[in-house]
Amino acid sequence: MQGLRKVLIANRGEIAMRIIRACRELGIATVAVFSEADRDSPHVRFADEAREIGPAKPAESYLNLERILAVAADTGADAIHPGYGFFAESAAAARRIEGRGLVFIGPSSEQIALMGDKLEARRVAERLQVPTLGGTQALESSDAAIEAAKRIGFPVIVKPVAGGGGIGNAVVSDPVALERATTLAARLSQQAFGRGTVYLERFLPQARHVEVQIVADQFGTVVALGERECSLQRRYQKLVEETPSTAIDDVVRAEMAAAALRIAKAIGYRSVGTIEFLVDAEKRFYFLEMNTRIQVEHPVTEMVTGIDLVREQIQIAAGVPLSFTEKDVKPRGHAIECRICSEDPLKNFLPSSGKITDLKLPGGPGVRVDSGIELGSSVTMHYDSLLCKVIVWDKDRDLATARMRRALSELHIGGVKTTRDLELAILGSQEWRDGRIHTRLLEEELLTRFRSSLGQL
């Protein structure tokens, strides 16, 4: 299919806005869908058309595929963009969308199914001689988990086979905690993804999370667009991201890109996607998983490469070849993203709901804001806590850091608690300045210091 005329965006918040913008630049009409709780949300008015699809609960609205397909038919949309979260990585949803003769803006349902099973994905990597952390197969019982953990050696990390977003993940150091964590992970994963199977992986202390962006069209062109460092996390969810990473040098960078390309090519991937790795202190990298969707942190890659990932993703789905080749990719400068979330860092990131009573977004040179809220918006418990993303670009990391601190100091959100002050403090910390960050740094060190000093790190 050449050229899409109308895209239905099956999402909300900042990513819905982002996709509508990309469509508008491509001359594609847009249909927004929204729940009762989102009647006043910005994406509803921003799209060319909008239809209400049900109550606030995601299962009855944004995950109600039958309803969304009915809206697509009714409005004459020829494609559905799932954004991230909701059914972005549901092979069953992609299959049903394809089955209706609509374009699913993402990879094929077979590719989603293959890489969505983390054990299958690990086997793909192993077959291609991409290093992995090893670990177990699917576990039958908590006794089997304890046996396996003794063999691997504590601490181990418990992970659901299905799903993402860190749901159910837990690092455990003893059999009692392991039993509790496997039960919880199975329950959470069953609730969220309809599959309660879990497995164990060796836990790497002081590891860094570094991921490689892949773009692949339907004509066999596959390009790696450099890495993103996403080590600053809470609850296995990213908070601050940057590119390039301070964890790796050009040799490792090239090896990681080559490994990511091998995986994408081996599965015949066609869309934007991300291969996630852990990197240890000796710069050895290990395949973690593949995300078969556009990611929250995609803008940092856009800032240094000048390539619009969402536009490319839509064009790939429409059967248009990539607008660039590997030779055209010349990343320059440094980019940082801070996710501004409605959570209280002083209360263990407790979600904060309410009405946005004050909103001042930053601007000026090198600053981009992708926002899903406006003055008067309601932040409810039903959806994730991301309010907006502040992204900056500058010539090098120090300058980008100074620019981000300036931008965050301009940002004011009233009515809910946010992570802004914590992020300002992170960017002022010695660990950040030295580039000595790892996946547990925020929860194990920075947060404690933030709480006791109220702002200064």
């Binding site: 409605s342 407790l350 979600p351 709901s353």
Partner: protein
């Protein structure tokens, strides 16, 4: 006997899981009710040890911030 202690929802959410039953003995810091909000789970913990006297919510129920979820007889 001293007055019962109320376990209150610190945030609006959905009751995800109730790891205790009436009559259970719990210590300070034990999770009493697990709330789900904004795609995350939050254990609401007992600030003081005691015995679970009442559980006022059920799994899947939506609760407002400040809602009383359970009561504890302190020990």
């Amino acid at each position: 006997m001293s007055e019962r202690i109320e376990i209150v929802a610190p945030v609006a959410g959905v009751v995800g899981n109730i790891p205790v039953a009436v009559g259970d003995k719990i210590a300070a810091g034990d999770p009493v009710i697990v709330l789900q909000a904004m795609k995350t789970e939050f254990p609401v913990e007992a600030e003081q040890g005691g015995r679970i006297a009442e559980i006022l919510v059920s799994e899947g129920q939506e609760v407002e911030m400040g809602a009383v979820l359970a009561r504890i007889d302190p020990e």
